[in-house]
Amino acid sequence: MSLLYVDRVMVRFGGVTAVDGVNLLARAGEVTGLIGPNGAGKTTLFNVISGMQEPTGGSVSLDSVDITDLPAHKRAQRGMARTFQRLELFGSLSVRDNIKVAAELAALTNVNAIVDEMIERVGIADIADRPAGDLPTGSARLVEIARALATRPKLLLLDEPASGLDESESERLGDLLRTLAATGLGVLLVEHDMGLVMKVCDVIYVLDLGQIIAHGTPNEIQHDPKVLEAYLGAS
């Protein structure tokens, strides 16, 4: 059963087609990877899914319900949460309050317990009381993930969560994603760190020039000639 279903989504900016009829499916309990060279349209697709960008055509469904016309906050209330490639923390709030806002927005009871749980889970207890605006990139990414998780989403969209993380942090992130998927959460991951993608993803989609050129298991993707061509420019 698909959690997220993206059906022939198209986005045009003037004469440029950024996303060109993309079909994509993400399941609960799986980590779905979305990779592609720079400018392939990954972030634009993320914006369409999360409701920040209206598609020129196509539709997006969550849990078999068409959400194409819903504003961003309604999608979040239906169980979708995302992080941002260029960090979007609430800089004047403390790390703890960043996560608290999210838990409160999801109208959860026992907000403080959830906040503590998330801080524990991503391992940011040591910076919990610092202003989020002062954090180095690596920690800030973890805070964004904790904040997104605090809304108790069904689907988590991660836009390059490992950029700015060092090797051990990146490894911990991979473990965290596997643990989360094991609890039934669906994860859609945009990432440039191929080691991480190949290790944690169940299914990978490859986007190039706005189109899905391949999808399959990490093993299939690594040996797909079209993918090699898109990445290396060689046939």
Binding site: S92, E104, A106, G133, E144
Partner: protein, 757 residues
């Protein structure tokens, strides 16, 4: 037909002036991202300068024109960019806009000072006065034709400049991406400077043309540019051809209104309201309509704020509120009636400034109409039955809060500059269509009943002062409660990242409506507590600007900042009324203070709090501060010190000596003994003077206080210059992505063999 043609020509010529003004606005907005509210004031100053040269000093017209437009205007524009605007990179829209408000206030003050109103100047001649030509049977003056020609010339020159010259290409590059331009070897600063110079010339040209058309008066010249704002907004602040079209439409609307408003078919009133004020409201209505077009999309891309404020603690907030009321109760007995009224005005303004804290400070939504809600509150309090009992008060506040929320609705899809301008449009509309109605203010004013509180009779100005100060304290605590609540966190989240807030499930519209309603409600309190006769001029749009400005100067993110801003505004009128010789200084004071915002965007209150933060947790020093205050109080109680000496010495003790104590104690400098002697001497000399008799006017005493604090406080710091700093955030100490720890700095110093701090 003849009439239609005549008024079409008049309208197009007016539109031509709007077009010239608007194109200047577009040029600066696109190159530096700053919407210059003071653009009209620049044109006004240029018109006066031209008058001075041409008619007072008899410089021949071509030379006077050349000097004004091609020497003084560009110089002024370039200077503005260099001194004021360049410091604003990386600040919020709120601060940037406030600085142009400050500039606006400064220029109006300056013009009032240099050219006090005088009817002899109204003989500002048109170019080739008296000459006209006949076009299709209609006499068109040369001045109109010249105006027209200027607009066309400006259009052509701008087009050529932007697309054919190196500078133009650089300007458009800066618009697209400032940082990238810099990386590629472009010089965005020089480009902005050129843009500001060009823009000032355009403003000057329009100002001179308009002054020939109208009369040489400050207000109409400054405010007529609202038309230009509307035209620039029609062009989305980017598109010059659309801007010119918008300007023509506005000119024509205005002209046709003049032509046909007396006809019988023209509606004279609607819903019982007279439409007499509608002419002045035309640009605002167009502005409103034009503003509904830009939809602010959710955009990622975080703004890095240079301002910073902390979460207020309950203990300090309650202590502050209680001591504020206590201080007001204590000193209000010593004040004369007129000083009481001035302080009362200060606290009223502080409440208005406070209404901006949740809206602008927390939620980051700029409003230029805070006094409008105070005015609505005053009207509601006066018109509702109940003659000022608590139920009436609550009802008045609730009605205005609801109105604030509803009015905010059309503005909600907007953000930043568009939102600010739509609140300005709203303020002007309310002023023209509600405040200026005969039904609203019979005989020019309206009596707002004094709030009736059970068991307390308030009938004196002193009682009203205490009431208003108490209200400020309670509302301040309310704002603190909001900041610490779920709503407060949401407001800040909305400011810091709308995109993240929305994708976490926040209904941005609902949150903004809540912020506007809360702000309108607090503003309404200020009006409903007026307890006296009020006139519509008090709540005019132009009066709102200084309030916004001083709130931002004080620090719009904190309750203390609101108090500071409000009292400063009140204190400024103290200066003006008590020391006539300083009246002119007080005219340019708010503007001058505001212009410094570029260097200190967090506001003065935050800075002061920062100075005191060094005392936090140092109980021995706090004990010294407390003991010192007690000694000063005891000396006063024993009649050794006069009341005014008590006030002056107390302020010097708290603001100049106390923040320096940790520095003195921690300093290893050899000069610390000198600093101690300096501080002690300053304090003793201050206490030795009997301020009640030495200076006999309050305003002079206030100035003396400011000077003493500056001389004693800063002087001691100067003396200890070689001692360690409290905190040195130079870029050398800040790591690439986090602060270096002390250890790391030492390590770096060892390795590099340099001393970093």
């Amino acid at each position: 037909m003849q009439q239609l043609l005549t008024f079409t020509i008049i309208g197009l010529s007016t539109g031509a002036i709007y077009a010239v003004v608007a194109s200047g606005l577009v040029v600066t907005y696109t190159t530096s991202g700053i919407f210059n509210l003071a653009h009209g004031a620049t044109g006004m100053l240029a018109a006066f300068t031209y008058w001075q040269l041409r008619f007072d000093w008899d410089v021949p017209a071509p030379i006077a024109l050349f000097l004004t437009l091609f020497v003084l205007c560009p110089l002024f524009g370039a200077l503005t960019e260099r001194v004021v605007m360049r410091g604003l990179q990386g600040t919020t829209e709120v601060v940037r806009l406030s600085v142009t408000v400050a500039l606006f206030a400064f220029m109006i003050g300056l013009a009032n000072w240099v050219w006090p109103s005088d009817s002899s100047r109204e003989a500002f001649l048109k170019f080739f006065e008296g000459n006209s030509v006949s076009i299709a049977g209609i006499n068109v003056s040369w001045h109109r034709i010249i105006t027209f020609g200027c607009a066309i010339l400006v259009a052509i020159v701008l087009r050529l400049l932007l697309f054919r010259t190196r500078m133009g290409v650089a300007m458009r590059a800066v618009v697209d991406d400032r940082n990238l331009t810099e990386l590629n070897g472009g010089r965005p600063d020089r480009v902005s400077m050129f843009a500001w110079a060009l823009s000032a010339t355009l403003a000057g040209l329009a100002g001179i043309l308009l002054a020939g058309e109208q009369q040489l008066n400050i207000e109409p010249l400054v405010l007529l540019v609202i038309n230009a704002y509307a035209a620039a907004i029609i062009g989305r602040l980017k598109n010059l051809p659309l801007t010119f079209l918008g300007a023509a439409v506005l000119g024509l609307l205005d002209s046709y209104y003049l032509a046909y408003s007396d006809e019988s078919w023209f509606p004279q009133s609607a819903f019982g309201f007279s439409l007499a004020g509608i002419r002045a409201a035309i640009p605002t209505i167009v502005l409103f309509i034009a503003l509904t077009r830009p939809q602010s999309r959710l955009r990622a891309g975080i703004v890095r704020f240079r301002e910073e404020t902390r979460v207020p603690e309950w203990s300090t907030s309650i202590l502050g509120a209680v001591s504020l009321v206590a201080v007001v109760v204590a000193i209000s007995g010593m004040l004369t009636r007129s000083n009481t009224l001035l302080l009362l005005n200060g606290f009223t303004m502080a409440i208005v400034a406070l209404s901006l804290v949740p809206l602008t400070g927390y939620a980051g939504q700029m409003s230029l109409a805070p006094l409008t809600f105070a005015g609505l509150g005053a009207i509601a309090m006066a018109k509702l039955p109940g003659d000022g009992n608590i139920a009436t008060f609550v009802l008045a506040v609730v009605i205005v809060a609801v109105a604030g929320g509803i009015v905010a609705l059309p503005a909600l899809r907007l953000s930043g500059i568009y939102l600010a301008l739509s609140t300005a449009a709203f303020a002007v509309l309310v002023t023209k269509l509600i405040f200026n109605q005969k039904q609203t203010f019979q005989s020019g004013n309206i009596a707002v009943p004094i709030l009736k509180i059970p068991f307390v009779e308030i009938d004196s100005p002193r009682g009203r002062l205490i009431l208003t100060a108490t209200a400020f304290s309670l509302l301040g605590l309310l704002v603190v409660a909001v900041r610490r609540s779920r709503l407060g966190r949401r407001l800040i989240a909305l400011k810091d990242s709308p995109a993240a807030a929305a994708t976490l499930g926040m209904n941005l519209t609902r949150t903004k409506v809540a912020a506007f309603a809360l702000s309108a409600g607090i503003g309404a309190c200020a009006g409903a507590l007026a307890g006296d006769k009020v006139s519509p001029q008090q709540y005019d749009f132009t009066q709102s600007l200084p309030v916004v400005l001083l709130a931002v100067v004080g620090g719009v993110g904190t309750v203390g900042g609101a108090l500071f801003g409000g009292l400063l505004l009140g204190g400024n009128s103290v200066l003006a009324s008590v020391v006539p010789s300083l009246k002119n200084v007080s005219k340019i004071l708010p503007g001058t203070i505001g212009i410094t915002l570029g260097r200190n965007p967090s506001g003065a209150a935050t800075q002061t709090a920062e100075a005191f933060r060094v005392l936090k947790g140092r109980w021995n020093l706090l004990a010294v501060v407390g003991a010192g205050a007690f000694v000063i109080w005891a000396l006063t109680a024993a009649d050794v010190l006069s009341h005014w000496t008590f006030v002056v010495t107390g302020v010097v003790w708290f603001l100049a000596v106390a923040p320096n104590l940790p520095l003195v104690v921690d300093s290893s400098s050899a000069r610390r003994a000198t600093a101690v002697v300096y501080l002690a001497a300053g304090l003793v000399i201050t206490a030795a003077i009997d301020w009640s008799t030495a200076l006999d006017v309050t305003g002079q005493r206030l100035i003396a206080i400011v000077i003493l604090v500056a001389v004693i406080g800063l002087g001691a710091q100067r003396i200890m210059e070689s001692g360690p700093r409290v905190r040195a955030d130079s870029p050398d100490v800040i790591g690439l992505d986090r602060d270096f720890s002390g250890e790391e700095i030492e390590h770096a110093e060892r390795e590099l063999r340099v001393v970093i701090r």
